[in-house]
């Protein structure tokens, strides 16, 4: 609900929604020039957790770079490793066995659900409801335990290797994944009854920060931010990669463009990921998880290559410029939240600070992924 503001220049004061603030989920600072509760203009200041992954990319060989990707976005780490591994396999021409592809798809989708659940809990807590966070984390705990059993760590899995996986999954993982799906559907119903139907929640998010298709295109927004404004763009469908063409799932798109639409998109995405996991578990072939002669030293031919992948937060792209040596010449990481967050400054003009922070919550930010 943006109201035209008529401000006298000396009337405004600058409020630092500073690096340490409960609503920014990380070290992000928004310098807001405020007139009372209305934001006159907002300037996002990032870089507080910038670790220069791209320089590390130029100093380390390809196999040594596995762990950097999961440190970029710790909530949906597998999606990022998937992009990195797909790129190098495409460039170096490494064959990936069918079973490894399926396990990758299943674990990426599980990780996507875990990331969406964490977002759901944090978003409702941003709006003031504390209990849904605990329910969401409780469901997410099941996923983390499942993934910890097979990969060895809870968040920063370096589980994928060029050509396959670090180690294979066992029957207990398959059985716990199968048993997880109905339980997750039951709690999804609970969330819809507890939060989505709640009138306070709907009144809070209806017509909050409406993004037009044009703004999304100008800023290059992706995932729920673009799909919430009616743009049917999902890298798994637009540029099919790995084993996704075998799964039939649909991409939830809501035309309204307000925070409620972005919320609905992500909740529907959890349902779609459950469908993918179900089909993945049904079609899981046996066989090896690493090619017979997996090359130890990776030396991709010189040239300029690009690979885009759909992660929980949007279309993550890696550009690799290799000069034929063991170490990449230049590795550019295109992080989706970087573009999603960029449109915050323009949209937050004229909004109340409460609506602006609700809008920031609906963008699903992970700050280390913005700063890289």
């Amino acid at each position: 609900m943006s109201v035209p503001i008529h401000i006298q220049p000396d009337e405004t004061f600058v409020l630092n929604v500073g690096p340490q603030h409960p609503a920014t989920h990380g070290v992000l600072r928004v310098k807001m020039e405020m007139d009372g509760e209305y934001i006159v203009n907002a300037e996002t200041v990032i870089g507080y957790i910038h670790r220069m992954h791209e320089k590390m990319g130029e100093l380390k060989t390809y196999p040594q770079y596995y762990m950097n990707l999961s440190r970029m976005d710790y909530l949906g780490a597998l999606g990022y490793s998937h992009g990195h591994v797909l790129l190098v396999e495409k460039v170096a021409g490494i064959e990936v066995p069918e079973r490894a592809e399926y396990i990758r798809a299943i674990t990426v989708e599980l990780n996507r659900i875990a990331s969406h659940l964490f977002w759901f809990g944090a978003f409702v807590m941003d709006l003031g409801g504390f209990s849904p966070l605990m329910y969401a984390l409780q469901d997410r705990e099941h996923i983390l335990d499942m993934l910890e059993r097979i990969t060895g760590s809870r968040l920063t899995y370096s589980y994928y290797r060029f050509g396959g996986l670090y180690n294979d999954i066992d029957d207990q993982f398959i059985e716990s994944a199968r048993e997880f799906i109905p339980r997750m559907r039951k709690s999804l119903k609970k969330y819809h009854k507890l939060v989505t139907g709640n009138i306070i929640f709907i009144k809070r998010l209806k017509d909050n920060a409406i993004l037009s298709k044009e703004t999304c295109r100008k800023y290059g927004a992706s995932s729920a931010v673009a799909r919430g404004s009616g743009i049917n763009y999902d890298v798994r469908k637009n540029e099919p990669y790995s084993v996704y063409p075998e799964f039939d799932f649909d991409v939830p798109v809501y035309p309204e463009g307000d925070s409620l639409a972005r919320y609905n998109v992500r909740m529907a995405e959890i349902e779609q990921s459950l469908r993918i996991i179900e089909q993945g578990l049904d079609k899981l072939p046996d066989g090896p998880i690493m090619p017979k002669k997996a090359p130890k030293i990776i030396k991709p031919p010189a040239g300029d290559y690009y690979q885009a992948v759909e992660t929980a937060r949007g279309n993550f792209g890696i550009r690799l410029i290799s000069d034929g040596t063991k170490v990449p010449y230049r590795l550019k990481l295109r992080s989706p939240t970087y573009s999603n967050m960029h449109l915050f400054d323009e949209t937050a003009k004229g909004m109340l600070i409460m609506d602006a922070l609700a809008f920031m919550g609906s963008l699903d930010l992970v700050i280390p992924e913005i700063d890289r």
Binding site: Y66, M67, D145, R149, G152, G197, N198
Partner: protein, 146 residues
């Protein structure tokens, strides 16, 4: 006028549904692990800090081939070996792991062809001094064997 009232009643009804859910949650059992009193069991593939594997008589299987030192992205392993006279293979003299820099990616365990390294199940590693994390794995192996 009708929508005005229907909106109020549907709003109240959604609030009551919300309350009913938390009411049911109130009476369902707690799911948290009370940490200091109940310990958490780490799964078998859990990646704690790496440790040396001893053969039957307890001395490390490591043959000082330096593969792990080269494979580590952050350079936290330093290995030193010396050749005892009369034996052709080098024996391990010093194996330190700088756990402050280690990011548990597992390249070292993967690159070791002599199965001399494994992940420990250690997760209670809080300490106030940095030096506690420069671990001498040989000494840990001896303690383990005792």
């Amino acid at each position: 006028m009708v929508t005005y009232f229907s909106e109020i009643f549907s709003g109240l009804w959604s609030l009551i549904i919300g309350l009913s859910i938390t009411f049911r949650e109130f009476f369902s059992p707690t799911v948290t692990v009370h940490y200091p009193y109940e310990q958490v069991v780490m799964p078998e593939r859990f990646r704690g800090h790496i440790q040396l594997k001893g053969d039957e008589e307890g001395n490390p299987k490591c043959v000082v081939c330096m593969m792990c030192q080269r494979a580590c992205p952050s350079g936290c392993i330093t290995v030193a070996g010396k050749k005892k006279e009369g034996e052709k293979k080098k024996t391990l003299s010093k194996y330190t792991l700088d756990f402050t820099k280690c990011s548990l990616c597992g390249s070292c365990v993967e690159s070791c062809n002599f199965d001399a390294l494994e992940f420990s199940k250690e997760y209670k590693l809080a300490s106030t001094r940095k030096e506690d994390f420069i671990m001498d794995l040989m000494q840990r192996l001896e303690e383990q064997n005792k």
